[in-house]
């Protein structure tokens, strides 16, 4: 029985092989030799690229699934997402996997890139491979942004608005670019259709083409050997050396591929687990631009940019928005040309290690800032966050009245009391120690001098209100601390 089956398999397989000729076309590619080091334990450094690709395929599979139901029309996209979330069996799960796998793809691409950078694998003769990689990173981020827009909710709407407003600052061409981006004079149906085409056809097409090129280069120029300190790359001798190295190498189909497969499978499991436990993202608020109280936030891959835009000084802002990203990309593209020879081991390349540490920390800090966004007024604080009772326990009637004025004039939107409220301005829990009555009145009336952070309230606070509010603010002191005094009441600050 077994023998018959085997014979049948052989005949059928042989029939196909006689026509497909895979043994002479595909097999050599799969079995292309890789440096022995890359097949050993150090090979675990090499798994991130294939994991990125695995997630790309997962995105394609889930994306096709979602496209069967999703309606890319401004008036129905939101409902179709709700339908996916609540009615379509496993719809929420597919959306969830698509979101988490997309996030994972961004992470994997960045990790892969960092590894390649730290190991100097971009040096001769793999410069072009790196350049393709940079383009793949940009396309991946492009997928993240366009994908966020397809989740046609308030964040999506305002995300496009912010993107368009940034583009609108390009000298001269700005307004034309805005129209091109949003597909007309306003954000709406044509915007969504356009982002759908980008997300589903244009960017994925480019992604697949570039992945093909990237892999082609990996195969033709070979996988880089694990870096060894004291063995610098010299373009004159590298090829011959690599050739020798690979002669002692191992076929890719084997340990290396097993590592890739194992790691990719683990990544997929983690993604699916996250998707199942945390669930899909949104859709959030309705895509109705007239709903005030919207609090637009970009998806996490762009929080660092959100942070950067909020923190950059006004004079530099347009530069930070337009030129800085371009400069960043050019720097990445130039990496293999600035250093395409020399040491590869991180232990011999302190500058490279420093770049990764500083760059990573900066991104992390900006992302954190973007997440907490202390610069945003909290629109509901004035009516939602009550004055902490401890603050007004021993207040006089006038001070109590002042507390009410303080709340009612929306001060809490920017000023916290005991940490609760907006973080745009300073926490005022102990402002009475810092500022005198006169200084407070001046600050409230005229705002921060020179058009700083605090607006001038002069016209909108009546004298009685001012009296009460300032009395309240002066009373904001830790127990036993005297109120602020202008030194001897003689020197002016």
């Amino acid at each position: 029985m077994k023998r018959i089956l085997k014979a049948v398999a052989n005949t059928v397989g042989g029939w196909f092989e006689a026509r497909l000729r895979l043994k002479e076309s595909v097999m050599p590619i799969l079995e292309h030799p890789i440096p022995a080091g890359a097949a050993g334990p150090k090979g675990w450094w090499y798994v991130f690229g294939s994991a990125s690709m695995t997630l790309l395929f997962l995105q394609i599979a889930t994306g096709i699934g979602l496209a069967l139901v999703y309606v890319p029309s401004a008036d129905q996209a939101y409902q179709s997402l709700e339908y996916l979330n609540y009615r379509q069996p496993f719809g929420w799960f597919l959306r969830s996997i698509h979101y988490w796998s997309g996030s994972g793809m961004v992470v994997m691409v960045v990790v892969h890139m960092t590894q390649v950078f730290l190991h100097g694998s971009y040096k001769y003769p793999r410069e072009l491979t790196w350049i393709f990689g940079v383009c793949l990173l940009l396309l991946t981020l492009g997928m993240a942004f366009t994908g966020q827009v397809l989740r046609w909710d308030a964040d999506a709407y305002w995300g496009v608005g912010v993107g368009a407003s940034m583009a609108g600052r390009v000298p001269v061409a700005g307004p034309g670019i805005v129209e091109l981006l949003i597909g007309g004079p306003t954000i709406g149906a044509s915007t969504l259709s356009r982002f759908f085409a980008l997300h589903v056809f244009i960017i994925p097409g480019l992604l697949l083409a570039l992945v093909g090129g990237h892999l082609w280069l990996v195969i033709t120029r070979g996988i880089s050997e694990p870096p060894v300190p004291g063995q610098p790359v010299d373009p004159k001798t590298y090829d011959a050396k690599y050739h020798e190295e690979v002669k002692k190498g191992k076929p890719f189909l084997g340990d290396a591929m097993t590592k890739d497969a194992l790691f990719s499978s683990l990544v997929v499991l983690v993604i699916v687990a996250l998707a199942a436990i945390i669930g899909p993202k949104g859709p959030g608020g309705l895509p109705d631009p007239t709903l005030t109280g919207a609090n637009p936030r970009p998806d996490w891959p762009f929080l660092w940019l959100f942070g950067l835009l909020s923190l950059s000084p006004a004079g530099l802002e347009t530069f930070v928005m337009l030129a800085f990203p371009a400069v960043l990309v050019v720097c990445l593209l130039l990496v293999p040309f600035v250093s395409n020879r020399g040491e590869r081991a991180p232990s011999r390349r302190p500058v490279a290690v420093l770049v990764v540490l500083v760059g990573g920390t900066t991104l992390a800090v900006l992302t954190y800032e973007g997440m907490t966004s202390p610069w945003s007024p909290q629109m509901g604080a004035w009516s939602g966050d009550t004055i902490p009772t401890a603050v007004v326990k021993r207040s006089t009637p006038l001070e109590l009245q002042g507390a009410a004025v303080f709340q009612n004039k929306n001060c809490r939107n920017c000023h916290a009391l005991e940490g609760i409220g907006g973080k745009r301005g300073p926490d005022l829990s102990s402002v009475g120690v810092r500022l005198t009555r006169d200084q407070l009145i001046d600050q409230i009336n005229n705002g921060t001098p020179g058009g700083g952070n605090m607006p001038a309230y002069g016209k909108h606070v009546r004298p009685a209100e001012m009296d009460a509010m300032v009395a309240f603010l002066v009373s904001l002191r830790p127990e036993g601390q005297p109120p602020a005094k202008t030194a001897g009441q003689t020197t002016k600050k």
Partner: protein, 205 residues
């Protein structure tokens, strides 16, 4: 040495072949170019058509004398469907304008402030706080005074003013495109106005 009768190798030159081949090349090039143009012209036309002319539309908001709609010295958010929209725009075709009735000026004309909700920094929606007479932006902390001037935060200018007019006793607002720094509502960019309708802003009462 080949026999005279043997078929010549394909690339062996013969007197008449170069002209025939180059004629063939010319024809192929010509037909190819025609095919490319046949496809290219409509495709380019289609893509360019995506950038449409901006019609000037006026949206009636309400009777100037209607004190419930336009109470004097109070800023109200008025919501309308932007005439610049597609049938399938859904809620995204809705637009808001902050309108404040300033009462009559010396000549007895009604005066209004009409501001776009779109923040002049990066386009987020601003919220009006009547208690402190400020517009606040949720994104990067831009704040504006009641007259639209920048009060604090990153916006490089005041709120975008929307062109308005009074026609037969009705306050009308010009249908807004997405305002950006170089393409405001009062002074639209020339770049996207190429060959489009002479601009009639009507009377600024």
């Amino acid at each position: 040495m080949s026999e005279p009768t043997a078929p010549k190798p394909a690339d062996a030159p013969t007197p008449e072949e170069p002209t025939r081949r180059s004629a063939m090349l010319w024809i192929t090039g010509g037909v190819g170019a025609a095919a490319a143009a046949a496809v290219g012209v409509p495709v380019v036309g289609f893509l360019a058509g995506a950038v449409r002319a901006r019609p000037i539309d006026w949206v009636p908001i309400g009777k100037v004398t209607d004190a419930a709609l336009f109470p004097v010295n109070e800023t109200r958010l008025h919501i309308f469907r932007n005439p610049i929209h597609e049938e399938w725009d859904g809620d995204s075709a809705k637009t808001g304008a902050y309108i404040r009735n300033l009462g009559k000026d010396d000549k007895g004309q009604e005066q209004f402030w009409v501001f776009s909700m779109i923040c002049a920094h990066l386009g987020c929606p601003v919220t009006w706080f009547p208690q402190s007479a400020l517009f606040m932006c949720p994104c990067h902390g831009g704040v504006y005074y009641e007259n639209g001037d920048r009060a604090s935060g990153p916006p490089p200018r005041g709120l975008y003013k929307m062109p308005w007019r009074i026609k037969e006793g009705v306050l009308e607002v010009q249908a807004p495109h997405l305002p950006t720094l170089q393409d405001t509502l009062e002074k639209p960019s020339d770049v996207v106005q190429l060959g489009i309708i002479k601009r009639d802003r009507g009377e600024r009462a």
